[in-house]
């Protein structure tokens, strides 16, 4: 792999945002994801390559380490910050359509539930997997999910719930979404949700952590 991309991958994996960021100590005063992405583009490396060969693999490593409990939420967030600094340079290419995402992922916390940390983490990691994110926020009604699905045909939907009571609202939302869009791919998650519950309510996939969702989405593209 191009040396520059390899360096960029390491920066994102370990949360080295830019030359000013003191973390990680071993990379102090070195250029970070922000600068390296600029150099890569200047060297003629395409935004697509940067994404596919550096950013996505970096976030995938991060997600895997998180799944294995080798790192915790803060390091995942630091990596995401580094990735975002890289995306500052790449975003214009998405807007012109020159570079394409793998797909669109709509996510929201179900009606009656206000928890958003878990949902935000999932959104962030799926974005790191190369998807465009439509974040509907918390306390999202079934109608809002339906509206978003209509607006973004082909998008995958993810629902999050953190209480057993709001899992019931998840069940209702999934049932209505299914009825409206029979082929709709639906992912569910949140602390009390289980694979068994996912099956019972007719959702397509459950994952206890973001990486499982990223891997599943890969199989769809």
């Amino acid at each position: 792999m191009d040396q520059l991309l390899e360096k960029l991958l390491t920066c994102v994996e370990f949360g080295k945002v830019d030359i000013k960021s003191p973390y990680p100590p071993a990379m102090k005063d070195q250029e970070g994801a922000f600068e390296l992405t600029r150099h890569a583009l200047d060297d003629g490396i395409s935004p697509g390559e940067i994404l596919e060969e550096a950013l996505i693999p970096a976030m995938s490593r991060v997600g895997q380490k998180f799944s294995r409990n080798e790192i915790f939420v803060p390091q995942m967030l630091m990596a995401a910050k580094a990735m975002n600094s890289s995306m500052i340079h790449l975003r214009p290419y998405y807007l012109t359509g020159e570079t394409k995402r793998r797909g669109t992922f709509i996510i929201g916390t179900v009606t009656g539930d206000l928890h958003d940390i878990g949902k935000n983490l999932v959104a962030m990691m799926i974005e790191g997997g190369g998807w465009e994110i439509i974040d509907l926020g918390v306390d999202v009604s079934t109608e809002k999910f339906i509206e978003a699905a209509e607006k973004h045909p082909g998008a995958v939907i993810g629902l999050s719930a953190l209480l057993t009571t709001t899992m019931e609202n998840m069940r209702k939302s999934v049932a209505e979404l299914r009825q409206r869009f029979p082929g709709q791919k639906i992912l569910v998650g949140g602390a009390p949700v289980t694979a068994d519950f996912c099956r019972k309510i007719g959702a397509d996939f459950y994952s206890p952590d973001p990486q499982g969702a990223v891997e599943y989405l890969k199989t769809l593209t």
Binding site: V73, P74, L77, L163
Partner: protein
């Protein structure tokens, strides 16, 4: 956050110190309990009757409460500010700082509960009474929907907390529950030993990190 002592990445430890200092001014932390004298425990269906309201607490909680002569129902909150700060900061793009607010908010709610529990212990100790651990709807098999029964005992907006139809407390950084009081009740040093939930992240950890006060 999951780190064992000394292993947290550097910017995080600084950030935690910074955010903790900022939140020291949190004046919205509140905790209240109400003691009820009319308590009937029904071993048949593992339920507890307080003033005519039947709590279906399930076996684990029942086994701890059953010897109680009285019961305290409580709620505690870190207040709305910390949650709002977390949300705002995350929205503005500083995910890490937002997350630190969130975790400190949870910790503040639990700490408020610890202090409330200690106050309750002292309040009844004079009468020769002891207290149990605290138990919350949504834990140890006790259905979170029973929050509605719990809240039926509290005046509106008690501690500034409201309960939504889906049994969610607002502000989010809040904890509610029951504590048994009596001559023969016991405090379990490791609450996790009572519970069979293998997925709980507190499992095993809580006993270590949240050491029971020395007097137990």
């Amino acid at each position: 956050m999951g780190y064992s002592p000394g292993t947290a990445p550097e910017p995080l430890t600084d950030l935690i110190a910074e955010v903790s200092a900022e939140l020291l001014h949190l004046r919205e932390v509140r905790a209240e309990y109400i003691i009820f004298e009319r308590l009937t425990c029904n071993p048949g269906n593992k339920s507890i009757d307080i003033d005519g309201v039947v709590f279906d607490v399930k076996p684990i909680v029942f086994s701890q409460i059953k010897k109680s002569e009285r019961a305290a129902l409580f709620i505690c909150t870190a207040g709305p500010e910390v949650g709002e700060k977390s949300r705002r900061t995350m929205k503005e793009g500083d995910l890490l700082r937002g997350y630190v607010y969130d975790v400190i908010g949870s910790e503040a709610a639990e700490n408020a509960a610890d202090r409330m529990q200690e106050e309750l212990r002292l309040a009844v100790a004079g009468e020769g009474l002891k207290i149990t651990n605290r138990f919350s709807p949504g834990y140890c098999g006790w259905d979170v929907a029973e929050q509605h029964k719990l809240f039926s005992f509290f005046p509106d907006n008690f501690c500034g907390i409201t309960l939504t139809e889906s049994a969610l407390m607002n502000p989010v950084k809040s904890v509610s529950g029951i504590i048994g009081i009596g001559r023969d009740v016991e405090y379990a040093p490791s609450q996790c030993n009572l519970c069979d939930d293998k997925n709980c992240i507190y499992r095993g950890r809580k006993a270590e990190s949240r050491k029971p006060p020395i007097y137990w």
